[in-house]
Structures are given as structure tokens and as C-alpha cells.
């Protein structure tokens, strides 16, 4: 807990410039950053507080989609009537995340920047090796306690699980993140660890998340977020699925399907193989269960997290079938 400079940004532009300086970090709700500072993981030299910037906390929903400002609070997004109506999976993902207290503080932009819960990442005084924290230092998790670690998208350098819920729903519905003028698919915003697990997001110095945009779709309107976890509340997913479904007018043939997984991968994980296997098919339990197994194609376990490979397809199948029943 070393001394740091605190700077209250007066405009988005000023915030970007200040945050581009070495050692500077943006502070919004603080629910991740302050926590990591207490752990000794984040040691900012300057905190650029953006919570007073105006015009960044709006939530606008129309027939084209939703535009959610970076400073919108998680709690507001979860409770927003049009988000609930047109993007139920988004609302469900957010209200099942964290606790009410955290959702009231945390912002949508900050949520996308949430770091992993890997216990080795979070404890530098006891575990010096962490490629995410200190590139090239090694991975303490491999060979250690891995029950909560990823089975998809891992590398030899890092198996840390991406813990968020919201982004899982966002990648399912092709949402984009606005970095000022630049826009990126959320799916592209999150990076696989590969050899550089310290680089988690496709965001450059001087860039700042200003909004998240979710295009409207029939699949988004009929969607759900199913989160399976050890504890019923205030707990990360053992495995979760954001699923959207559009049926043909016959009411049984799948026209569009969106599937993304949470709690099992190093980033929000779009399961296109499941989507492709079922699009155009009749929605039928055995077919859904069989196709859902494709969600964990290529999964690699590290012992204690093997159950995720069993669990994730079951979560996907349940979510699809539940949506199908709700016809």
C-alpha cells in the first residue's frame, strides 16, 4: 500500500491523456482495482478518477440495440426494464454477479476490465511466479490448486480463468466495446493468454472504454444466463452459459442460436461449434445434449478442474432446453 497520486478527471479526453502516462490507472467503481491494490497486485502511481465524468452512465435501448455507457452501474443495468425485456441474458448475467453492494458500485466499463481470481495471481508475497503479473516468471497455478482454473483457451504460460458474467453474455450477442472512436467486438477485446498472459485486453495506452453496444436480435430477446456455482449467491461460476434462441415460425426448428460459456475459459468463450451444429435442426433434447458436448472441444484440465469439462455441456444443454420449453 504505497503512496499514489489521485487525480479527478474533468473530461474524457483529459482522463485518456492522464491514464496514458506510465503508472497511471483509471479508477471507476474501484471494486477490482482497490481490491488488487490491497493484495499488492496493483501498485498504481496515479489514479485517474473518472466517476465524475458526465454523460457516460446512460443506458439507451431501442429497436437497433442497447448502448450502455461505461460508467453505468451494474445494478442499474441489471434492473433496466428494456435490458430485461430485450436482453434478458444480459440482465441475468449482471444480477447474478458479485453482491448487491458491489453491483451498486461497479461500472460496466470496469466490469470488462475485471481481473482473474487465480489465487496465485492475487498473492504476490507468497507466490512470486505469475506470468500474468510478472511476464516470464512462470505459472504457480500449474501443478497447484486448480479447481477454479480454466479448461479452455489455456496456454503453458497461464491457466487463469476469466471470472466475469456480463462479458459472457456480451460475446454471445456480438456486442462491441467502444474505445472512443475505435470499436471492437467484445470477443476480440478479450485476448487469449498465449505467451503473453499479462496482456488481457486489446486496449492501448490512452484508450478508455466509453460504452458497450449490443445489437438487437431475436436471439437476444429470447435469451437466458444460467450460472451454476458452489454457493447460491456472491460466487463465481463453476460453469455458466449465456444462450439466445430464435426458432423458425414452425416453433421447433432452430433459426438462430447463440452460446457462450463462462467460468471455464481464459476469456468469455463463444461456443460456435454448438451453434453451428444445431442451427437449422429441430430443437430436441438428445440433439441438444449431443451438440452441447462440442462446447468443450479441445478442453484441457489440470486435475481438480476436470469437473468443468463434464459440467459445462450440461449447463449449455439445460439453458437451450429451458429456452425451448419457454416457447
Amino acid at each position: 500500500m504505497r503512496d499514489f497520486a489521485y487525480l479527478r478527471a474533468t473530461s474524457t479526453e483529459a482522463a485518456r491523456q492522464a491514464a496514458a502516462l506510465p503508472g497511471a490507472m483509471l479508477l471507476a467503481g474501484g471494486t477490482t482495482l482497490i481490491d488488487l491494490a490491497k493484495c499488492g497486485v496493483a501498485e498504481p502511481e496515479t489514479l485517474v478518477d473518472i466517476t465524475h465524468l458526465e454523460g457516460l452512465d446512460g443506458i439507451a435501448v431501442d429497436e437497433r440495440g442497447a448502448m450502455i455507457g461505461a460508467l453505468a452501474r451494474m445494478g442499474h443495468v441489471a434492473d433496466h426494464a428494456d435490458i430485461k425485456g430485450r436482453f434478458p441474458a444480459v440482465s441475468e448475467a449482471v444480477w447474478q454477479a458479485a453482491s448487491a453492494q458491489i453491483r451498486n458500485m461497479a461500472t460496466i466499463g470496469g466490469n470488462l476490465m475485471q481481473r482473474t481470481r487465480c489465487p496465485y495471481f492475487r498473492d504476490p508475497s507468497n507466490f512470486s511466479a505469475c506470468n500474468k503479473r510478472q511476464p516470464g516468471s512462470g505459472c504457480s497455478a500449474i501443478g497447484g490448486v486448480t479447481r477454479g482454473h480454466a479448461v479452455l483457451g489455456t496456454s503453458e504460460a497461464c491457466i487463469a480463468m476469466y471470472p466475469g458474467d456480463l462479458a459472457t453474455a456480451l460475446v454471445a450477442f456480438d456486442a462491441t466495446v467502444h474505445l472512443g472512436e475505435r470499436q471492437l467486438l467484445v470477443d476480440d477485446f478479450f485476448l487469449l493468454p498465449g505467451a503473453t498472459p499479462d496482456k488481457e485486453h486489446a486496449i492501448e495506452p490512452g484508450e478508455m472504454i466509453t460504452a458497450v453496444e449490443i445489437p438487437a436480435s431475436a436471439a437476444a430477446r429470447r435469451s437466458t444466463y444460467l450460472k451454476v456455482r458452489d454457493r447460491q449467491s456472491y460466487e463465481f461460476a463453476a460453469a455458466s452459459a449465456a444462450v439466445g434462441l430464435e426458432l423458425e415460425p414452425d416453433g421447433r426448428t432452430i433459426r438462430d442460436l447463440r452460446v457462450a460459456l463462462g467460468g471455464v475459459a481464459t476469456k468469455p468463450w463463444r461456443a460456435r461449434a454448438v451453434e453451428d451444429a444445431l442451427k437449422g435442426k429441430v430443437l430436441e433434447p438428445d440433439a441438444v445434449r449431443a451438440a452441447s458436448l462440442l462446447a468443450v472441444e479441445g478442453a484441457v484440465d489440470h486435475g481438480a478442474n476436470h469437473y468443468k469439462i463434464e459440467l459445462a455441456p450440461r449447463v449449455v444443454a439445460r439453458a437451450i432446453l429451458t429456452l425451448g420449453e419457454a416457447a
Binding site: M1, R2, D3, G40, R117, P119, Y120, D123, S125, N126, F127, G143, G144, V145, R147, V228, R229, D230, R231, Q232, S233, Y234, E235, A238, H306, Y307, E310, L311, R314, V315, A317, R318
Partner: protein, 764 residues
């Protein structure tokens, strides 16, 4: 801290003044409004802040501590290391066993567990101390650690002969029994995880030490501090106004307390030291990991012929903790043949400690799971098999129960739960994807008795004041002592002020083992009776009293007013009477110690547990009892277990305040749900370190995990157990919850989980 009862205006307070009334917690408003000041929140002039540096290896030696950078850091006052900290004397243990004549250093050179205190940094501000502590570099010579019970180097451990219990010929009877059950049951390291972390403020004035510290035992901790520093017991004052949860973890003075008190002495300034949340997982012990093997031999009617029980718990390399694993095994069921033995195994861990119902809790997980397994083996309902093997007397002590309302608990719980509608086959109850299971298990906890002391004053304004060095960690001491004094003297509870949590007050022993309520209501009753006798005596005999002419033998005091028994005399308030006889107060000290107890006996009683009375003393065996009925819903695909219904019937004897007793029972049940489904210290075996050392990763239940819980009191007053007829409350209800849930999970799924917690990967 002084707490006066405040009316809540809800119906629960109606007629609540007397013992047995449902008075709401009198300390509740102060806690809810934030007015309650906890120990480390005291504002003191010149306060310095200490932060601990802990070992990052589990076994080895400290080679060197590089502290120059920390010493030079802003605000740093001192860096304490084993070389620079002042030397203390070893203190006696909680039995009062004289300590070895050797120095004690709370900072370690020899490392026996990860997270051991190695150094401490004291600075002007907390932030400076934290920053400087990160600059202290410790190098080690590491040696291989024994990480847990399953470590190949752990061995079979040390036999604890005192735990051996045997009658009949258990092995032979088992060998010849027509039905035989044998299974191993394991419980992991569990942690008390109180909301308020451990910490203290220590201040020296000459050779007098004041310690503000959350404590379950002021007099015991004061003794330890006094012995460490070689000052008279009277020179140490412990102040512990409120306690944010203890669950057994705040009964003893611990190493971090010694560090803070040393720092305060060395600096000549008061010092605050508060553990971080991760440090609360290594700074003291949680519940030891345990293993038990339970074998039951029975006939085809489910009648038990033999129980053979073997238990193991972990302890530390240099400390001894015995978790008595045969404690429930030996008394729950009648059996002609019995054998129980226990070993302890040394591992590189902090010495384990007391956590809610130490011993009885894991013991019940073994025997109450095993008898459930037997019930399926012989095809007899799990409730019926428990009744068939009902112990009509204490099978171990061969004495009558003082009271045992367990049959009544089974009946009341089963009735309310609807047990008769249960279908016996596993996997026979279902709701969509949810498999539904119903389970039952019993629990028990011995009545621990000791002696207490209190002062009761009747003041000039007619109010009553009670003082005791006992404590209230949420269980309701302030409230029930107000009720006891109110009822005994004859005033409203509103007019009673209770002062607790200061070792300068009349003494009390440990608040643990569910003994405090019985001990202290007895002491307050005695002191209040003596004060009342003085009051009535004055009213009758003092020539200035309006009752003097009446020549009555006695008078009635009720609602703060004094009248003659037949109502044929004056009617005056207590304050009017005191004024008329020229007194500003009446004061009486009451204690429940045997007459002629020496000063040494008294000191021993209040500062050790050596004087506690055995629960089988005399002609009776004294225990609380309970029966839990649990419904679980297990998602067939996901393996997630949710408890959807709990009905528990409990026998804690007479309840001094049913509202508070029910609250404690429900707390125990909730903690039992956590133990069954969530709680486990997860070890990195390469480092011998618990990695889920925070409240996000060490899971305890949230509100969403807890269904409606119904508790039913089936107790009757038990005057063999306490002066007013109560038995233990706080420890009881967790006992038997984990096996009740495991038994329900078996009924739901057909899978028997014998390793806690029951996490989803064990069921998918």
C-alpha cells in the same frame, strides 16, 4: 461496556422481562446504529500501528531478515524481529499447567507452518506500516514439510490414551455380527471466519498493561499476558466491550497479541495490531482436519452389537490439539461392546483450535453417517433405527441422564417435518431436474459447568446494575443477565444496566462450551437474591422504613415497588424506600464457588479450565440433545446441493430467553450447512499453504443458501445442570447438521459422500 435495555416496540418484547421471556437483544440498537465501539476502535493519544510479516514457507529456518529498507521507510518506528523483540516468559496453558522455565518469543526463527509470524513493523500510520512491512525481506533454509494428514511423511501419529474408551469386546462382537458396516469419514480444515478479525490495542502505563481486544475469556487472557511479561495478574486489564463473532477462536491470548504488547512496551506508546483477513487463516487455528473409521456390527433388526471407532486429527509440529472424535460415538446409541481410540498427527500447520462444538461436531459426522448407512443396509427407516438403539442411560458413564429429551425431539421434528411421508428408496423423490432427499441426524453437546461471580447493585433511583467480566459475543449475555436481575429483584428489565467486558469487574471463566449462560445466570441470581434480601431486610428492620411498624417477616418487590404480602401496608418504590432509610445503594457480590474456596481456587477457576465440573459428576450425565430433519434438492445434471428445508427439535433444558436461544440454534444450523456444503481450507501441497484464505474464496453460506429454518424447543428444566435449569445452547445445533445433510444427499442421489464438504464434483 454498559448496556441498558431498550424497548423495540415489537410484540416479541411483550412480557419479556422475566427469565424465559423473549426480550430482544439489548445491545442490538447500538450495533445496528454503529454506536457500539469495538475493541480496536478505541481512539488513543499517540497510537502507533503494527503490521505482521509472515513466513512464506511451511518448514525450515529463518536464515536472515533484511530490515534496513523497512527501518528507513517513512514513518517507521521499529522493526521487530526475533533478534530485536524483548524477551517474554512462557505462559501456562489453559489448564494452568506450570510452564517450562524458558523464554517465549512470538516471532519465529524456526518455521513450522506457512503464515507464521516472523517480524513486525510499527509505524506512525497503518499505511506506512503496511508499505514498510512489504520491504522486509526474509530468507529461509527450507526443509520438506508435512502438509496434511494424507502426506506420506505424516505417519500414524501419536496415540492419545486419554481418548481411549472401551467396554465389552468390540472386535469380537463385530466379527460375529450378522450385519457389518465399515466406512471412513473425513472433515477438512475449517475456519471460524468471524466478521470481526482478531486484533488489539495494547497500552502500558509503568508496569500496568491495558489491552483492548475481542475476547471470549478476559481473565484467562489477562493471566497469559501477565505471565508473558512477568507482572502481577492484577496489573493487566482486558477490555472487550463487544465481540464480532468468536466461535471458539477468541478465547486465548495469541502470538499477535504478544507482538503488539511487546511493541507498545518497547516504544512506550499504545500500539494497534489488526490481522488481515488472510492472516486470520494462519494466525491461529481453525478446526483440525479429521479422519474417522466407524464400524458397526448389528443384527438384522438393526440392533447395534458393537461399535469400533478409530479417529485421527491433525495437530501442529510443536503444539498439541486433540479434537475428541469419540465424544458422540460413545454416548449416542446403546451398544454392549464399544471401542474408540484416537491418534493425533503432527503436520506443518498452526496449532488447530476450538471451533463451534470441537470434538462433538466431527464425531457426529462419523457416527450419524454410519448409522444412516446401517439403516439402508438392514432396510429400516433411519429414524426408526435411531429409536431402536436409543440409549436409556449414558452407555459410557453408566449413569442416568439428567434429562434427555431426544425421543421427544425425534417425535416433534418428525411430526413437523412430515417424515412419515418419506419414501424409503434413494432417488425416489424428484421435482423435474431436482432430486429430493430427506435426511435425519442427531446431535449432542455436554453440559459444561463452572463457577461465576457477579455484583448486583440496587441504586438510589431504583435501577439495578450488574457487573461481570463475562462477555457477549452476540449470544445475548447482556440480555439474559438483565432478565435474571430484573426477575430476581423485582424490577423491569428496562431498569437494569448490565456492564460486561472489563476484567476489573467480578470474574468469569471462559465463554465457551456453552457454559456461560448457566454459570452467569446462577451468579447473578445469587447476587441479586442477596441484594434483594438486604433491601427487604432494610425495609423491615430499619426504624426509618415505612414498613417498620408492620413487623412483617417478608415483603414483596415487584415492578420496582415494595408492598406487604397481603397488600395491607404501604406501597413505595425502591427509590423511595432507599431514600427513607438514607441509603444511596445496596450492593451484593454473589458467586457460585463452593463455600470456603481459597483465593487460589478462585484464581484458578476464573483463569483456567481446570476447575470445570465434569458433565458426569455425581449421579447424572448431563447433555443437550437435538434432532435435525433436512430436505435437500440436488440438481441431477449439475451436482449442486441446496438445502430447502430444515426442522430441528432441540433440548437445551430451560431457555432463559427463547428468542435468543432460537437465534443461536439457527446460527449453528447455518454454520452446519456451510460445513456440509461449502467450507474447506484448500491446500497448495507444494507450499503447505491454504490458498483460499479470504471470504471470497473460503465459502460460507449467504442468505440465498439458507431456507426457512424451524426450530422447536423440547427441553425441560434440568436443575442438575444449572441453577436455573438451562443446559447448553450455542454449541449444540451445529452438531449433527452435516450428517443430516449428507444423509439427505444419499437419499436424494444414492451417493454416499463421506468427505466434507459435499461439492458438486463429488455428485456429477
Amino acid at each position: 461496556m454498559t448496556v441498558r435495555s431498550i424497548r423495540h416496540g415489537d410484540a416479541s418484547d411483550g412480557g419479556a422481562d422475566a427469565v424465559g421471556g423473549r426480550l430482544s437483544r439489548v445491545d442490538g440498537p447500538a450495533k445496528i446504529t454503529g454506536a457500539a465501539k469495538y475493541a480496536v476502535e478505541q481512539q488513543l493519544e499517540g497510537l502507533a500501528h503494527a503490521v505482521l510479516v509472515e513466513s512464506t514457507i511451511a518448514s525450515g529456518k529463518v536464515r536472515a531478515i533484511a530490515s534496513k529498507a523497512a527501518e528507513a521507510a517513512p514513518g517507521v518506528l521499529k522493526v521487530l524481529t526475533p533478534d530485536t523483540i524483548i524477551s517474554l516468559r512462557t505462559a501456562s496453558d489453559w489448564f494452568g499447567t506450570p510452564p517450562p522455565d524458558k523464554p517465549y518469543c512470538p516471532l519465529a526463527r524456526d518455521i513450522t507452518f506457512s503464515g507464521q509470524h516472523v517480524a513486525a513493523v510499527v509505524a506512525e500510520t497503518f499505511e506506512q506500516a503496511v508499505a514498510a512491512a512489504a520491504l522486509v525481506k526474509v530468507s529461509y533454509d527450507e526443509t520438506p514439510a508435512i502438509v496434511d494428514l494424507s502426506d506420506g511423511k505424516a505417519g500414524d501419529g501419536i496415540p492419545v490414551d486419554a481418548m481411549t474408551k472401551e467396554w465389552g469386546d468390540a472386535q469380537a462382537a463385530f466379527a460375529s455380527a450378522p450385519v457389518r458396516i465399515c466406512a471412513a469419514y473425513n472433515t477438512p480444515r475449517e475456519y471460524q471466519a468471524p466478521m470481526e478479525p482478531h486484533g488489539l490495542i495494547a497500552r502500558w502505563e509503568g508496569d500496568h498493561l491495558t489491552v483492548w481486544e475481542p475476547s471470549q475469556w478476559l481473565d484467562g487472557m489477562a493471566r497469559t499476558y501477565a505471565e508473558w511479561f512477568g507482572v502481577p495478574f492484577e496489573n493487566v486489564r482486558l477490555v472487550s466491550p463487544y465481540i464480532g463473532g468468536g466461535f471458539g477462536s477468541k478465547a486465548l491470548a495469541l502470538g499477535h497479541g504478544a507482538v503488539a504488547a511487546c511493541a507498545a512496551k518497547m516504544l512506550g506508546r499504545p500500539v494497534r495490531l489488526v490481522m488481515t483477513r488472510p492472516q486470520t487463516f494462519t494466525g491461529y487455528g481453525g478446526r483440525a482436519a479429521t479422519r474417522q473409521t466407524v464400524t458397526i456390527g448389528a443384527d438384522h433388526d438393526g440392533m447395534i452389537q458393537s461399535i469400533v471407532h478409530r479417529g485421527v486429527n491433525e495437530t501442529s509440529i510443536d503444539g498439541m490439539w486433540v479434537e475428541p472424535l469419540g465424544s458422540v460415538t460413545s454416548i449416542m446409541y446403546a451398544t454392549p461392546n464399544f471401542s474408540s481410540k484416537q491418534n493425533v498427527v503432527r503436520v506443518n500447520s498452526v496449532v488447530p483450535g476450538a471451533m463451534r462444538a470441537p470434538g462433538e461436531n466431527p464425531s457426529a459426522f462419523g457416527i450419524e453417517s454410519a448409522i444412516d448407512e446401517l439403516s439402508y443396509e438392514v432396510g429400516i427407516d433411519p429414524l426408526e433405527i435411531r429409536l431402536r438403539n436409543y440409549a436409556e442411560q449414558d452407555p459410557e458413564a453408566k449413569k442416568a441422564w439428567s434429562t434427555r429429551q431426544l425421543r421427544e425431539a425425534f417425535a416433534a421434528g418428525a411430526e413437523r417435518f412430515g417424515w412419515a411421508r418419506r419414501t424409503p428408496e434413494p432417488r425416489s423423490m424428484r421435482d423435474g431436474n431436482q432430486l429430493i432427499g430427506w435426511g435425519v441426524a442427531a446431535g449432542t453437546y455436554p453440559v459444561r459447568r463452572a463457577y461465576g461471580e457477579a455484583i448486583v447493585r440496587i441504586l438510589a433511583d431504583g435501577s439495578v446494575e450488574v457487573e461481570s467480566s463475562s462477555i457477549d459475543m452476540g449470544q445475548g449475555t447482556y440480555t439474559i443477565l438483565a432478565q435474571t436481575a430484573a426477575e430476581t429483584v423485582g424490577v423491569s428489565a428496562d431498569d437494569v444496566v448490565v456492564k460486561l467486558g472489563d476484567s476489573r469487574f467480578p470474574r468469569a471463566g471462559v465463554t465457551g462450551g456453552s457454559r456461560l449462560a448457566g454459570v452467569m445466570t446462577g451468579a447473578v441470581h445469587k447476587a441479586a437474591t442477596a441484594a434483594l434480601d438486604q433491601l427487604v431486610g432494610l425495609a423491615i428492620s430499619d426504624p426509618r422504613s415505612p414498613f417498620h411498624a408492620l413487623q412483617a417477616n417478608t415483603l414483596v418487590v415487584a415492578n420496582g415497588r415494595i408492598t406487604a404480602p397481603r397488600g395491607d401496608g404501604p406501597d413505595v418504590s425502591i427509590s423511595e424506600l432507599l431514600e427513607s432509610v438514607g441509603r444511596d445503594r445496596i450492593e451484593a457480590v454473589g458467586d457460585t464457588m463452593p463455600a470456603n474456596s481459597s483465593a487460589e481456587d478462585r484464581y484458578k477457576n476464573y483463569t483456567t479450565i481446570a476447575m470445570a465440573l465434569p458433565h458426569t459428576e455425581g449421579d447424572y450425565s448431563r447433555h443437550s440433545w437435538c434432532a435435525h430433519f433436512v430436505e435437500v434438492r440436488v440438481d441431477e445434471d449439475f451436482g449442486t446441493v441446496r438445502v430447502s428445508r430444515v426442522v430441528s427439535a432441540l433440548d437445551s433444558g430451560r431457555l432463559y430467553n427463547p428468542k435468543l436461544a432460537e437465534s443461536q440454534w439457527k446460527g449453528g444450523i447455518i454454520m452446519g450447512i456451510g460445513q456440509a456444503l461449502l467450507e474447506e481450507g484448500i491446500m497448495d501441497r507444494r507450499h503447505g499453504r491454504i490458498v483460499n484464505n479470504n471470504l471470497a474464496d473460503y465459502l460460507v453460506p449467504t442468505n440465498a443458501d439458507i431456507p426457512d429454518i424451524e426450530v422447536i424447543s423440547v427441553g425441560i428444566p434440568d436443575l442438575h445442570s444449572s441453577v436455573l435449569g438451562g443446559k447448553g445452547v450455542g454449541e449444540l445445533a451445529i452438531v449433527g447438521m452435516a450428517p443430516a445433510i449428507a444423509n439427505a444427499v444419499f437419499h436424494a442421489t444414492g451417493k454416499r459422500v463421506r468427505d466434507l464438504p459435499i461439492t458438486l464434483e463429488k455428485l456429477i
